[in-house]
Amino acid sequence: MPESAAGTPLHIITLVKWVPDAQLERRFTAERRIDRSEGILGELDEYPLEAALQIKEAASRDVRVSALTIGPAGAATAAKKALQIGADDAFHLSDDALTGADVVATSAALAAAIEHVLADGDAEGEHLVITGMASEDGESGAVPPQLAERLGLNLVTQATAVALEEDRLVVTRASATEQQRLAAALPAVVSVTDQANEPRYPNFKAIMAAKKKPMTSWSLADVGLDASAVASKATVLTAEARPPRTAGEIITDEGDAGVKIVEFLAKERVL
Protein backbone atom coordinates (compact mmCIF):
# COMPACT_ATOMS: atom_id res chain seq x y z
CA MET A 1 0.00 0.00 0.00
CA PRO A 2 1.30 3.51 -0.81
CA GLU A 3 2.34 5.92 1.95
CA SER A 4 -0.74 8.06 1.44
CA ALA A 5 -3.78 6.71 -0.34
CA ALA A 6 -5.32 10.13 -0.96
CA GLY A 7 -4.65 10.10 -4.71
CA THR A 8 -5.14 6.37 -5.29
CA PRO A 9 -8.34 5.40 -7.06
CA LEU A 10 -10.75 3.25 -5.04
CA HIS A 11 -12.96 0.54 -6.49
CA ILE A 12 -15.94 -0.41 -4.29
CA ILE A 13 -17.88 -3.56 -5.11
CA THR A 14 -21.30 -3.78 -3.51
CA LEU A 15 -23.06 -7.13 -3.45
CA VAL A 16 -26.76 -7.11 -4.21
CA LYS A 17 -29.28 -9.96 -4.32
CA TRP A 18 -32.54 -10.43 -6.17
CA VAL A 19 -34.93 -11.87 -3.59
CA PRO A 20 -38.63 -12.70 -3.32
CA ASP A 21 -40.57 -9.69 -2.01
CA ALA A 22 -41.08 -10.16 1.75
CA GLN A 23 -44.34 -8.20 1.55
CA LEU A 24 -45.83 -10.94 -0.65
CA GLU A 25 -46.27 -14.61 0.16
CA ARG A 26 -42.93 -16.41 -0.15
CA ARG A 27 -42.81 -20.15 -0.69
CA PHE A 28 -40.69 -23.21 -1.35
CA THR A 29 -40.91 -25.21 -4.56
CA ALA A 30 -41.40 -28.99 -4.75
CA GLU A 31 -37.58 -29.23 -5.06
CA ARG A 32 -37.31 -27.67 -1.56
CA ARG A 33 -35.88 -24.44 -2.89
CA ILE A 34 -37.13 -20.92 -2.34
CA ASP A 35 -39.37 -19.95 -5.26
CA ARG A 36 -37.43 -17.30 -7.18
CA SER A 37 -39.73 -16.74 -10.12
CA GLU A 38 -40.33 -13.13 -9.01
CA GLY A 39 -38.20 -10.76 -7.04
CA ILE A 40 -36.92 -7.35 -6.07
CA LEU A 41 -33.59 -5.87 -5.00
CA GLY A 42 -33.34 -6.96 -1.35
CA GLU A 43 -34.04 -4.04 0.98
CA LEU A 44 -31.04 -4.95 3.12
CA ASP A 45 -28.84 -4.41 0.03
CA GLU A 46 -29.87 -0.77 -0.26
CA TYR A 47 -27.79 0.04 2.83
CA PRO A 48 -24.41 -1.12 1.42
CA LEU A 49 -25.15 0.71 -1.83
CA GLU A 50 -25.89 3.88 0.11
CA ALA A 51 -22.71 3.41 2.18
CA ALA A 52 -20.67 3.06 -1.02
CA LEU A 53 -22.24 6.14 -2.59
CA GLN A 54 -21.65 8.21 0.55
CA ILE A 55 -17.98 7.17 0.57
CA LYS A 56 -17.73 8.11 -3.10
CA GLU A 57 -19.37 11.50 -2.56
CA ALA A 58 -17.18 12.36 0.43
CA ALA A 59 -13.91 11.24 -1.17
CA SER A 60 -11.38 13.54 -2.78
CA ARG A 61 -10.13 10.75 -5.02
CA ASP A 62 -11.62 8.73 -7.87
CA VAL A 63 -14.13 6.19 -6.58
CA ARG A 64 -15.88 3.65 -8.79
CA VAL A 65 -18.90 1.78 -7.41
CA SER A 66 -19.74 -1.55 -9.05
CA ALA A 67 -22.77 -3.69 -8.19
CA LEU A 68 -22.34 -7.46 -8.37
CA THR A 69 -25.16 -9.98 -8.27
CA ILE A 70 -25.53 -13.73 -8.63
CA GLY A 71 -28.88 -15.12 -9.62
CA PRO A 72 -31.16 -16.33 -12.41
CA ALA A 73 -32.03 -14.19 -15.44
CA GLY A 74 -34.45 -12.06 -13.39
CA ALA A 75 -31.62 -10.99 -11.08
CA ALA A 76 -30.54 -8.53 -13.79
CA THR A 77 -33.40 -6.32 -12.57
CA ALA A 78 -31.72 -6.07 -9.14
CA ALA A 79 -28.48 -5.02 -10.83
CA LYS A 80 -30.39 -2.44 -12.90
CA LYS A 81 -32.02 -1.06 -9.77
CA ALA A 82 -28.54 -0.70 -8.25
CA LEU A 83 -27.48 1.29 -11.34
CA GLN A 84 -30.52 3.53 -10.91
CA ILE A 85 -29.70 4.11 -7.26
CA GLY A 86 -26.21 5.19 -8.28
CA ALA A 87 -23.74 2.37 -8.99
CA ASP A 88 -21.45 3.15 -11.94
CA ASP A 89 -21.58 -0.30 -13.50
CA ALA A 90 -22.94 -3.77 -12.79
CA PHE A 91 -21.96 -7.43 -13.11
CA HIS A 92 -24.37 -10.36 -13.20
CA LEU A 93 -23.18 -13.93 -12.74
CA SER A 94 -25.79 -16.44 -13.83
CA ASP A 95 -25.49 -20.19 -14.28
CA ASP A 96 -27.80 -23.19 -13.90
CA ALA A 97 -25.17 -24.81 -11.69
CA LEU A 98 -25.83 -22.08 -9.11
CA THR A 99 -29.50 -22.95 -8.65
CA GLY A 100 -30.13 -23.64 -4.96
CA ALA A 101 -26.55 -22.69 -3.99
CA ASP A 102 -25.94 -22.81 -0.22
CA VAL A 103 -23.71 -20.41 1.74
CA VAL A 104 -20.38 -22.05 0.81
CA ALA A 105 -21.33 -22.38 -2.86
CA THR A 106 -22.48 -18.77 -2.98
CA SER A 107 -19.31 -17.46 -1.35
CA ALA A 108 -17.14 -19.55 -3.70
CA ALA A 109 -18.90 -18.12 -6.76
CA LEU A 110 -18.88 -14.55 -5.40
CA ALA A 111 -15.17 -14.75 -4.53
CA ALA A 112 -14.32 -15.73 -8.10
CA ALA A 113 -16.62 -13.05 -9.49
CA ILE A 114 -15.09 -10.36 -7.25
CA GLU A 115 -11.63 -11.27 -8.50
CA HIS A 116 -12.88 -10.86 -12.06
CA VAL A 117 -14.54 -7.51 -11.33
CA LEU A 118 -11.27 -6.29 -9.83
CA ALA A 119 -9.30 -7.56 -12.81
CA ASP A 120 -11.67 -5.54 -14.99
CA GLY A 121 -10.55 -2.31 -13.31
CA ASP A 122 -7.47 -0.41 -12.29
CA ALA A 123 -5.03 -2.92 -10.84
CA GLU A 124 -3.13 -0.12 -9.07
CA GLY A 125 -6.14 1.08 -7.09
CA GLU A 126 -7.50 0.09 -3.72
CA HIS A 127 -10.44 -2.24 -3.17
CA LEU A 128 -13.39 -2.48 -0.84
CA VAL A 129 -16.28 -4.97 -0.84
CA ILE A 130 -19.46 -3.81 0.90
CA THR A 131 -22.40 -6.16 1.57
CA GLY A 132 -25.66 -6.11 3.46
CA MET A 133 -25.85 -7.66 6.95
CA ALA A 134 -27.60 -10.75 5.54
CA SER A 135 -29.59 -11.66 2.47
CA GLU A 136 -33.29 -11.07 2.79
CA ASP A 137 -34.18 -14.69 2.04
CA GLY A 138 -31.25 -16.79 3.30
CA GLU A 139 -30.69 -14.55 6.34
CA SER A 140 -27.48 -16.29 7.39
CA GLY A 141 -25.05 -13.35 7.36
CA ALA A 142 -22.35 -15.97 6.77
CA VAL A 143 -21.40 -15.00 3.20
CA PRO A 144 -19.34 -11.85 4.05
CA PRO A 145 -16.99 -13.68 6.49
CA GLN A 146 -16.57 -16.51 3.98
CA LEU A 147 -15.62 -13.98 1.29
CA ALA A 148 -12.99 -12.42 3.55
CA GLU A 149 -11.67 -15.89 4.31
CA ARG A 150 -11.52 -16.95 0.65
CA LEU A 151 -10.05 -13.67 -0.63
CA GLY A 152 -7.70 -13.11 2.32
CA LEU A 153 -9.17 -9.67 3.02
CA ASN A 154 -9.75 -7.80 6.28
CA LEU A 155 -13.26 -8.31 7.66
CA VAL A 156 -15.61 -6.04 9.59
CA THR A 157 -19.23 -7.18 9.89
CA GLN A 158 -22.51 -5.66 11.11
CA ALA A 159 -21.29 -2.07 10.74
CA THR A 160 -23.68 0.61 11.99
CA ALA A 161 -21.47 3.43 10.68
CA VAL A 162 -18.69 3.41 8.06
CA ALA A 163 -16.34 6.22 7.03
CA LEU A 164 -13.24 6.27 4.86
CA GLU A 165 -10.50 8.28 6.59
CA GLU A 166 -7.64 8.81 4.16
CA ASP A 167 -6.19 5.31 3.96
CA ARG A 168 -8.30 3.36 6.44
CA LEU A 169 -11.93 2.60 7.18
CA VAL A 170 -13.35 3.53 10.55
CA VAL A 171 -16.33 1.41 11.49
CA THR A 172 -18.73 1.21 14.42
CA ARG A 173 -20.39 -2.12 15.21
CA ALA A 174 -21.98 -4.01 18.07
CA SER A 175 -20.81 -7.42 19.23
CA ALA A 176 -22.93 -9.54 21.58
CA THR A 177 -21.58 -7.64 24.60
CA GLU A 178 -20.04 -4.36 23.49
CA GLN A 179 -20.04 -1.45 21.12
CA GLN A 180 -16.80 -1.42 19.12
CA ARG A 181 -15.01 1.18 17.02
CA LEU A 182 -12.57 -0.43 14.61
CA ALA A 183 -10.09 0.73 12.02
CA ALA A 184 -9.35 -1.48 9.03
CA ALA A 185 -6.85 -1.11 6.22
CA LEU A 186 -8.00 -1.74 2.68
CA PRO A 187 -8.63 -4.09 0.98
CA ALA A 188 -11.52 -5.22 3.17
CA VAL A 189 -14.96 -6.81 3.25
CA VAL A 190 -17.50 -4.81 5.28
CA SER A 191 -21.12 -5.76 5.95
CA VAL A 192 -23.49 -2.98 7.01
CA THR A 193 -26.78 -3.11 8.91
CA ASP A 194 -29.99 -1.19 8.38
CA GLN A 195 -28.82 1.28 11.03
CA ALA A 196 -25.89 2.45 8.92
CA ASN A 197 -27.72 5.06 6.82
CA GLU A 198 -30.96 6.11 5.10
CA PRO A 199 -30.95 4.68 1.57
CA ARG A 200 -31.83 7.13 -1.21
CA TYR A 201 -34.52 6.62 -3.83
CA PRO A 202 -33.57 6.94 -7.49
CA ASN A 203 -35.06 10.04 -9.14
CA PHE A 204 -36.15 10.31 -12.78
CA LYS A 205 -32.79 11.66 -13.92
CA ALA A 206 -30.95 8.79 -12.24
CA ILE A 207 -33.31 6.25 -13.81
CA MET A 208 -32.65 7.69 -17.28
CA ALA A 209 -28.89 7.86 -16.67
CA ALA A 210 -28.83 4.21 -15.58
CA LYS A 211 -29.84 3.11 -19.08
CA LYS A 212 -26.42 4.14 -20.38
CA LYS A 213 -24.43 2.42 -17.63
CA PRO A 214 -22.60 -0.80 -18.53
CA MET A 215 -23.80 -4.20 -17.30
CA THR A 216 -21.66 -7.31 -17.86
CA SER A 217 -23.18 -10.80 -17.81
CA TRP A 218 -21.06 -13.80 -16.91
CA SER A 219 -21.46 -17.55 -16.72
CA LEU A 220 -19.43 -19.66 -14.28
CA ALA A 221 -16.92 -20.48 -17.02
CA ASP A 222 -16.39 -16.73 -17.58
CA VAL A 223 -15.13 -16.38 -14.01
CA GLY A 224 -12.99 -19.51 -14.30
CA LEU A 225 -15.14 -21.94 -12.32
CA ASP A 226 -16.81 -25.22 -13.15
CA ALA A 227 -19.89 -26.68 -11.49
CA SER A 228 -17.86 -28.80 -9.04
CA ALA A 229 -16.35 -25.63 -7.53
CA VAL A 230 -19.81 -24.44 -6.50
CA ALA A 231 -21.27 -27.68 -5.17
CA SER A 232 -23.48 -27.08 -2.11
CA LYS A 233 -22.37 -28.75 1.12
CA ALA A 234 -25.69 -28.48 2.95
CA THR A 235 -28.71 -30.35 1.62
CA VAL A 236 -32.27 -29.34 2.44
CA LEU A 237 -34.23 -32.51 3.30
CA THR A 238 -37.65 -31.05 4.11
CA ALA A 239 -39.37 -27.67 3.89
CA GLU A 240 -42.76 -27.44 5.57
CA ALA A 241 -45.04 -24.41 5.55
CA ARG A 242 -45.89 -23.43 9.11
CA PRO A 243 -49.60 -23.22 9.74
CA PRO A 244 -50.34 -19.47 9.76
CA ARG A 245 -51.37 -17.92 13.06
CA THR A 246 -55.04 -17.17 13.21
CA ALA A 247 -56.60 -14.11 14.78
CA GLY A 248 -58.17 -14.65 18.19
CA GLU A 249 -60.69 -12.48 19.97
CA ILE A 250 -60.53 -8.75 19.15
CA ILE A 251 -62.45 -6.33 21.37
CA THR A 252 -62.88 -2.57 21.32
CA ASP A 253 -61.98 -0.80 24.56
CA GLU A 254 -65.04 0.38 26.44
CA GLY A 255 -63.12 1.49 29.48
CA ASP A 256 -62.45 -1.99 30.85
CA ALA A 257 -60.08 -3.53 28.27
CA GLY A 258 -57.11 -3.51 30.67
CA VAL A 259 -59.06 -5.69 33.10
CA LYS A 260 -60.25 -7.91 30.22
CA ILE A 261 -56.66 -8.55 29.07
CA VAL A 262 -55.65 -9.58 32.59
CA GLU A 263 -58.68 -11.91 32.74
CA PHE A 264 -57.61 -13.43 29.42
CA LEU A 265 -54.04 -13.94 30.68
CA ALA A 266 -55.33 -15.57 33.86
CA LYS A 267 -57.57 -17.89 31.83
CA GLU A 268 -54.65 -18.81 29.54
CA ARG A 269 -52.48 -19.39 32.62
CA VAL A 270 -49.69 -17.13 31.37
CA LEU A 271 -49.59 -14.93 34.48
Binding site: R26, E139, L155, V156, D194, T252, I261, E268
Partner: protein, 319 residues
Protein backbone atom coordinates in the same frame (compact mmCIF):
# COMPACT_ATOMS: atom_id res chain seq x y z
CA UNK B 1 -17.62 -41.91 20.03
CA UNK B 2 -18.32 -38.76 18.04
CA UNK B 3 -17.22 -35.41 19.38
CA UNK B 4 -19.14 -32.14 19.61
CA UNK B 5 -17.04 -29.00 19.96
CA UNK B 6 -18.84 -25.97 21.42
CA UNK B 7 -17.49 -22.47 20.76
CA UNK B 8 -18.09 -19.68 23.27
CA UNK B 9 -16.59 -16.31 22.28
CA UNK B 10 -16.08 -15.60 25.97
CA UNK B 11 -17.06 -17.07 29.33
CA UNK B 12 -18.15 -15.21 32.44
CA UNK B 13 -18.23 -16.61 35.96
CA UNK B 14 -21.58 -18.25 35.18
CA UNK B 15 -22.97 -19.77 31.98
CA UNK B 16 -25.80 -17.83 30.33
CA UNK B 17 -28.94 -19.81 29.66
CA UNK B 18 -28.11 -19.86 25.93
CA UNK B 19 -24.71 -21.37 26.78
CA UNK B 20 -26.34 -23.98 29.04
CA UNK B 21 -28.77 -24.90 26.28
CA UNK B 22 -25.95 -25.36 23.81
CA UNK B 23 -24.01 -27.68 26.14
CA UNK B 24 -27.22 -29.68 26.64
CA UNK B 25 -27.71 -29.99 22.89
CA UNK B 26 -24.05 -30.86 22.28
CA UNK B 27 -24.24 -33.73 24.78
CA UNK B 28 -26.86 -35.41 22.56
CA UNK B 29 -24.35 -35.43 19.68
CA UNK B 30 -21.28 -36.86 21.37
CA UNK B 31 -18.48 -36.22 23.80
CA UNK B 32 -18.43 -32.48 24.61
CA UNK B 33 -15.40 -30.19 24.44
CA UNK B 34 -15.47 -26.40 24.75
CA UNK B 35 -13.28 -23.85 22.98
CA UNK B 36 -13.22 -20.21 24.05
CA UNK B 37 -11.26 -16.96 23.77
CA UNK B 38 -11.31 -16.60 27.58
CA UNK B 39 -8.15 -17.81 29.40
CA UNK B 40 -8.40 -21.17 31.15
CA UNK B 41 -8.17 -19.94 34.74
CA UNK B 42 -11.25 -17.77 34.17
CA UNK B 43 -13.09 -20.22 31.91
CA UNK B 44 -12.72 -23.44 33.83
CA UNK B 45 -15.18 -22.83 36.69
CA UNK B 46 -18.02 -21.80 34.40
CA UNK B 47 -17.76 -25.02 32.38
CA UNK B 48 -17.32 -27.34 35.35
CA UNK B 49 -20.33 -29.20 34.07
CA UNK B 50 -21.01 -32.92 33.81
CA UNK B 51 -20.01 -34.20 30.38
CA UNK B 52 -17.62 -31.38 29.44
CA UNK B 53 -14.23 -33.06 29.01
CA UNK B 54 -11.86 -30.32 27.98
CA UNK B 55 -11.79 -26.57 27.58
CA UNK B 56 -9.44 -25.36 24.84
CA UNK B 57 -8.14 -21.79 25.01
CA UNK B 58 -5.47 -19.69 23.34
CA UNK B 59 -2.14 -18.93 25.00
CA UNK B 60 -3.59 -15.50 25.94
CA UNK B 61 -7.05 -13.95 25.93
CA UNK B 62 -8.54 -13.54 22.43
CA UNK B 63 -11.43 -11.08 22.09
CA UNK B 64 -13.93 -10.70 19.25
CA UNK B 65 -13.76 -9.78 16.42
CA UNK B 66 -10.21 -11.17 16.29
CA UNK B 67 -9.84 -13.70 13.42
CA UNK B 68 -7.36 -15.53 15.66
CA UNK B 69 -10.51 -17.10 17.09
CA UNK B 70 -10.83 -18.94 13.77
CA UNK B 71 -7.26 -20.26 14.14
CA UNK B 72 -8.12 -21.33 17.67
CA UNK B 73 -11.24 -23.13 16.46
CA UNK B 74 -9.39 -24.81 13.62
CA UNK B 75 -6.68 -26.05 15.97
CA UNK B 76 -9.27 -27.35 18.44
CA UNK B 77 -11.04 -29.21 15.62
CA UNK B 78 -7.74 -30.88 14.73
CA UNK B 79 -7.16 -31.81 18.38
CA UNK B 80 -10.61 -33.30 18.90
CA UNK B 81 -11.57 -34.55 15.41
CA UNK B 82 -15.01 -33.07 16.14
CA UNK B 83 -17.86 -34.04 13.85
CA UNK B 84 -20.09 -31.21 15.05
CA UNK B 85 -18.97 -27.65 15.82
CA UNK B 86 -21.65 -25.51 17.46
CA UNK B 87 -21.90 -21.94 18.70
CA UNK B 88 -24.62 -19.61 19.94
CA UNK B 89 -26.19 -17.50 17.21
CA UNK B 90 -24.33 -14.18 17.61
CA UNK B 91 -22.69 -12.04 14.90
CA UNK B 92 -19.12 -12.83 15.94
CA UNK B 93 -19.74 -16.56 16.36
CA UNK B 94 -21.40 -16.66 12.94
CA UNK B 95 -18.33 -14.95 11.47
CA UNK B 96 -15.90 -17.34 13.13
CA UNK B 97 -17.86 -20.48 12.22
CA UNK B 98 -18.45 -19.30 8.65
CA UNK B 99 -14.69 -18.88 8.16
CA UNK B 100 -14.03 -22.21 9.84
CA UNK B 101 -16.44 -23.92 7.41
CA UNK B 102 -14.35 -22.63 4.48
CA UNK B 103 -11.19 -24.03 6.05
CA UNK B 104 -12.84 -27.40 6.73
CA UNK B 105 -14.44 -27.41 3.27
CA UNK B 106 -17.84 -28.13 4.76
CA UNK B 107 -21.29 -26.58 5.01
CA UNK B 108 -22.56 -24.11 7.61
CA UNK B 109 -26.13 -23.97 8.86
CA UNK B 110 -27.05 -20.86 10.85
CA UNK B 111 -29.93 -20.18 13.27
CA UNK B 112 -30.66 -23.82 14.10
CA UNK B 113 -33.53 -24.48 16.50
CA UNK B 114 -32.81 -28.19 16.78
CA UNK B 115 -30.27 -30.87 15.81
CA UNK B 116 -31.17 -34.56 16.04
CA UNK B 117 -28.81 -37.44 16.78
CA UNK B 118 -28.29 -37.98 13.03
CA UNK B 119 -27.04 -34.37 12.80
CA UNK B 120 -30.14 -33.23 10.91
CA UNK B 121 -30.66 -29.53 11.60
CA UNK B 122 -34.06 -27.85 11.95
CA UNK B 123 -34.50 -24.14 11.42
CA UNK B 124 -37.20 -21.60 10.84
CA UNK B 125 -36.91 -19.65 7.57
CA UNK B 126 -38.66 -16.93 5.53
CA UNK B 127 -39.69 -14.89 8.57
CA UNK B 128 -40.97 -17.97 10.38
CA UNK B 129 -43.30 -19.09 7.59
CA UNK B 130 -41.42 -22.35 6.88
CA UNK B 131 -39.54 -24.93 8.90
CA UNK B 132 -36.70 -26.74 7.13
CA UNK B 133 -34.41 -29.62 7.96
CA UNK B 134 -30.98 -29.85 6.38
CA UNK B 135 -27.79 -31.85 6.73
CA UNK B 136 -24.20 -32.02 5.55
CA UNK B 137 -22.69 -35.20 4.09
CA UNK B 138 -21.79 -37.86 6.66
CA UNK B 139 -18.06 -37.58 6.01
CA UNK B 140 -17.96 -33.83 6.72
CA UNK B 141 -18.14 -31.90 9.96
CA UNK B 142 -21.38 -30.11 10.75
CA UNK B 143 -20.86 -26.41 11.53
CA UNK B 144 -23.93 -24.69 12.98
CA UNK B 145 -25.07 -21.72 15.04
CA UNK B 146 -28.01 -22.31 17.39
CA UNK B 147 -30.74 -19.87 18.46
CA UNK B 148 -31.43 -19.35 22.15
CA UNK B 149 -34.56 -21.01 23.62
CA UNK B 150 -34.25 -23.94 21.22
CA UNK B 151 -33.74 -26.70 23.76
CA UNK B 152 -34.46 -27.12 27.46
CA UNK B 153 -31.22 -26.55 29.36
CA UNK B 154 -30.27 -29.48 31.60
CA UNK B 155 -26.72 -29.06 32.84
CA UNK B 156 -25.50 -30.56 36.08
CA UNK B 157 -22.51 -29.19 37.98
CA UNK B 158 -19.55 -31.52 37.61
CA UNK B 159 -15.80 -31.81 37.84
CA UNK B 160 -13.63 -29.09 36.36
CA UNK B 161 -12.66 -30.07 32.80
CA UNK B 162 -9.07 -30.36 31.70
CA UNK B 163 -7.70 -27.01 30.44
CA UNK B 164 -5.59 -27.13 27.27
CA UNK B 165 -3.93 -23.92 26.10
CA UNK B 166 -3.34 -24.10 22.33
CA UNK B 167 -0.48 -22.16 20.72
CA UNK B 168 -2.71 -19.39 19.31
CA UNK B 169 -2.58 -15.77 20.47
CA UNK B 170 -4.48 -12.56 19.72
CA UNK B 171 -3.74 -10.89 16.37
CA UNK B 172 -5.48 -7.50 16.54
CA UNK B 173 -2.58 -5.28 17.56
CA UNK B 174 -2.68 -1.55 18.19
CA UNK B 175 -1.65 0.35 15.08
CA UNK B 176 -2.40 -2.66 12.84
CA UNK B 177 -4.58 -0.63 10.48
CA UNK B 178 -1.49 1.33 9.41
CA UNK B 179 0.25 -1.89 8.38
CA UNK B 180 -2.54 -3.59 6.48
CA UNK B 181 -4.61 -5.07 9.31
CA UNK B 182 -7.55 -4.37 11.61
CA UNK B 183 -7.39 -2.75 15.04
CA UNK B 184 -9.86 -1.99 17.79
CA UNK B 185 -9.95 1.73 18.60
CA UNK B 186 -12.50 1.53 21.39
CA UNK B 187 -14.66 -0.97 23.26
CA UNK B 188 -17.71 0.15 25.24
CA UNK B 189 -19.67 -2.51 27.14
CA UNK B 190 -23.36 -2.60 26.20
CA UNK B 191 -25.66 -1.64 29.04
CA UNK B 192 -26.91 -4.65 30.93
CA UNK B 193 -30.54 -4.31 31.95
CA UNK B 194 -31.87 -5.45 35.32
CA UNK B 195 -34.65 -7.22 33.49
CA UNK B 196 -34.50 -10.74 32.03
CA UNK B 197 -32.56 -10.95 28.75
CA UNK B 198 -34.88 -10.25 25.82
CA UNK B 199 -34.18 -13.50 23.98
CA UNK B 200 -34.58 -15.57 27.13
CA UNK B 201 -37.57 -13.89 28.79
CA UNK B 202 -40.83 -15.77 29.44
CA UNK B 203 -42.78 -12.54 28.88
CA UNK B 204 -41.95 -9.65 26.53
CA UNK B 205 -43.70 -6.27 26.60
CA UNK B 206 -43.00 -4.41 23.35
CA UNK B 207 -43.75 -0.86 22.25
CA UNK B 208 -43.71 0.89 18.88
CA UNK B 209 -44.26 4.31 17.36
CA UNK B 210 -47.53 4.47 19.31
CA UNK B 211 -45.70 4.92 22.64
CA UNK B 212 -44.68 8.34 21.29
CA UNK B 213 -41.44 8.58 23.22
CA UNK B 214 -42.87 7.38 26.54
CA UNK B 215 -42.03 3.79 27.50
CA UNK B 216 -43.03 4.54 31.12
CA UNK B 217 -46.37 2.68 31.14
CA UNK B 218 -44.78 -0.35 29.42
CA UNK B 219 -41.92 -0.35 31.95
CA UNK B 220 -44.46 -0.48 34.76
CA UNK B 221 -46.28 -3.36 33.10
CA UNK B 222 -42.97 -5.19 32.58
CA UNK B 223 -42.20 -4.72 36.29
CA UNK B 224 -45.49 -6.40 37.22
CA UNK B 225 -44.93 -9.31 34.83
CA UNK B 226 -41.19 -9.78 35.30
CA UNK B 227 -40.94 -9.15 31.58
CA UNK B 228 -38.24 -7.98 29.18
CA UNK B 229 -38.88 -4.81 27.14
CA UNK B 230 -38.93 -5.06 23.34
CA UNK B 231 -39.54 -2.49 20.62
CA UNK B 232 -40.26 -2.01 16.94
CA UNK B 233 -37.67 -0.44 14.66
CA UNK B 234 -39.72 2.76 14.56
CA UNK B 235 -39.21 3.10 18.33
CA UNK B 236 -35.49 2.27 18.27
CA UNK B 237 -34.87 4.49 15.20
CA UNK B 238 -36.55 7.36 17.06
CA UNK B 239 -34.01 6.86 19.84
CA UNK B 240 -36.65 6.22 22.52
CA UNK B 241 -34.96 2.96 23.47
CA UNK B 242 -31.70 1.19 22.69
CA UNK B 243 -31.33 -0.77 19.45
CA UNK B 244 -30.69 -3.90 21.53
CA UNK B 245 -34.43 -3.90 22.30
CA UNK B 246 -35.44 -4.16 18.63
CA UNK B 247 -37.48 -7.24 17.82
CA UNK B 248 -37.70 -8.38 14.21
CA UNK B 249 -35.85 -9.20 11.05
CA UNK B 250 -32.92 -6.92 11.80
CA UNK B 251 -33.22 -7.12 15.56
CA UNK B 252 -33.64 -10.15 17.79
CA UNK B 253 -36.01 -13.08 17.41
CA UNK B 254 -38.01 -13.95 20.51
CA UNK B 255 -40.36 -16.84 21.24
CA UNK B 256 -41.67 -16.12 24.73
CA UNK B 257 -44.76 -17.62 26.34
CA UNK B 258 -46.39 -14.19 26.16
CA UNK B 259 -45.71 -11.23 23.85
CA UNK B 260 -47.63 -8.02 24.56
CA UNK B 261 -47.47 -5.64 21.59
CA UNK B 262 -48.52 -2.03 22.22
CA UNK B 263 -48.62 0.72 19.59
CA UNK B 264 -46.97 -1.52 16.97
CA UNK B 265 -48.64 -1.93 13.57
CA UNK B 266 -47.23 -5.43 12.93
CA UNK B 267 -45.18 -5.04 9.74
CA UNK B 268 -43.73 -8.23 8.25
CA UNK B 269 -40.24 -7.31 9.53
CA UNK B 270 -41.59 -7.00 13.09
CA UNK B 271 -43.55 -10.26 12.82
CA UNK B 272 -40.42 -12.07 11.70
CA UNK B 273 -39.08 -11.64 15.21
CA UNK B 274 -42.11 -12.52 17.34
CA UNK B 275 -44.65 -14.66 15.58
CA UNK B 276 -43.43 -17.87 17.19
CA UNK B 277 -44.51 -16.52 20.60
CA UNK B 278 -46.96 -18.86 22.32
CA UNK B 279 -49.54 -16.18 23.10
CA UNK B 280 -49.73 -12.73 21.50
CA UNK B 281 -51.73 -9.84 22.98
CA UNK B 282 -52.00 -6.66 20.88
CA UNK B 283 -53.13 -3.16 21.83
CA UNK B 284 -53.54 -0.73 18.94
CA UNK B 285 -55.74 2.29 18.20
CA UNK B 286 -56.31 1.19 14.62
CA UNK B 287 -58.69 -1.77 14.16
CA UNK B 288 -57.12 -2.47 10.75
CA UNK B 289 -53.57 -2.84 12.13
CA UNK B 290 -52.06 -6.08 10.72
CA UNK B 291 -50.90 -7.13 14.19
CA UNK B 292 -54.52 -8.13 14.93
CA UNK B 293 -54.26 -10.88 12.28
CA UNK B 294 -51.84 -12.77 14.52
CA UNK B 295 -53.04 -11.74 17.98
CA UNK B 296 -54.69 -14.28 20.29
CA UNK B 297 -56.31 -11.40 22.13
CA UNK B 298 -56.55 -7.89 20.70
CA UNK B 299 -57.77 -4.59 22.05
CA UNK B 300 -58.67 -1.72 19.77
CA UNK B 301 -57.85 1.14 22.09
CA UNK B 302 -55.39 3.70 23.42
CA UNK B 303 -52.38 2.07 25.04
CA UNK B 304 -52.10 4.98 27.49
CA UNK B 305 -55.47 3.97 28.95
CA UNK B 306 -55.32 0.19 28.53
CA UNK B 307 -51.81 -0.46 29.82
CA UNK B 308 -52.12 1.52 33.11
CA UNK B 309 -55.40 -0.28 33.76
CA UNK B 310 -53.66 -3.63 33.27
CA UNK B 311 -51.01 -2.58 35.79
CA UNK B 312 -53.70 -1.57 38.27
CA UNK B 313 -55.59 -4.84 37.84
CA UNK B 314 -52.41 -6.93 38.20
CA UNK B 315 -51.54 -5.09 41.42
CA UNK B 316 -55.09 -5.52 42.72
CA UNK B 317 -54.92 -9.27 42.12
CA UNK B 318 -51.56 -9.57 43.82
CA UNK B 319 -53.28 -8.18 46.78
Amino acid sequence: MSVALVFFESLDARLSSAQQELLTLAATLGEVHVVTGTPGDRAVDAVAVEGVQTVYTGDAEILTPDPALVDLLETAVQETAASAILAPDTPDSTDALARLAVRLDTGIITDAVGIDSERRVTKSVLAGSYTTTAEVAEDRALVATVKPNSVEAAVVAGQAPEVVALPVGPSLAEGAAASGGVEVLQRTPLEVSERPALTEARVVVAGGRGVDGNFGPLEELADELGAAIGASRAATDAGWIDHAAQVGQTGVTVSPQLYISAGISGAIQQRAGMQTAQTIVAINKDEDAPVFEIADFGVVGDLFEVVPQMVEELRRRKG
